[in-house]
Symmetry: C2
Subunit: 144 residues, 2 copies
């Protein structure tokens, strides 16, 4: 039968879903990939910030997403949460040492993005300009 390859793939997927035998970095990569993590990390990069201040600094983030992103970061030990019980409650978020170490990488990501956004933008325009039919850009006729 010729299904062997597919079967292997299925097993691989099941192992993956079972949480076993996967590349160790994946879960972290996925955690970091969440839509707002980088934004939040960059926001709290220099000094503690209150919840409300964070919302102001990250326009477009719903209060719900901000909270859940913060919880996620907190769970991963990247951000610490300090609650001051006073008349109106006050909470501050701050990067942990672990968070700072990740921040370095995130800065690299941000730097690359800012540096190359023009290149990417023009690549996208190039790609989108071609008619959907002739979109096999780099096509080589090599009729052997």
């Amino acid at each position: 039968m010729t299904l062997t390859a597919d079967q292997k793939r299925q097993e691989a997927q099941q192992a993956y879903n079972g949480g076993l035998g996967q590349c160790p970095a994946r879960q972290l990569l996925e955690a970091i990939s969440s839509k707002w993590v980088t934004l939040v990390m960059l926001a709290v990069a220099d000094g503690p910030l209150r919840h409300s201040e964070l919302r102001r600094r990250i326009p477009g983030a719903s209060q719900k997403m901000l909270t859940s992103t913060l919880r996620s970061l907190q769970r991963d030990g990247l951000v610490s949460r300090l609650v001051t019980v006073s008349v109106p409650v006050r909470t501050d978020y701050e990067l942990t040492p672990l968070g700072h170490s990740l921040l370095v990488v995130v800065h690299g990501l941000k730097g690359w993005a800012e540096e190359n956004m023009d290149g990417v933008a023009s690549a996208r325009m190039d790609y989108d300009r071609r008619a959907p039919g002739s979109r096999n850009e780099t096509k080589y006729l090599n009729v052997q």
Copy 2:
């Protein structure tokens, strides 16, 4: 009225959705955040790879996701696609120079993940161990 802040936020969201006036790096950040981009990039890091070979190297990726991820990378000018028209069609994917420049950053990300996965794992255990009620870990009583 005290709704001013919320109104501003709504406007910000609408501007965001309208695609105007947002942080320039965001779209790139989001593009990179897709589940499989880093995996694919690391896979094609050293040399051209055929579609089938890629599938073999990234267990758990469905054929559909692999293709769509590749298209996305191709659109952003990070990966080039070479089609050789022969009896069974053959396509090879390869990092573009732009792709290689991003690869450096991705490697940094991978390196950090591998280096700190233990720290994150233990932080998660710490967090999860606390009873959901007393999960306000860093609580400070500062009754003024």
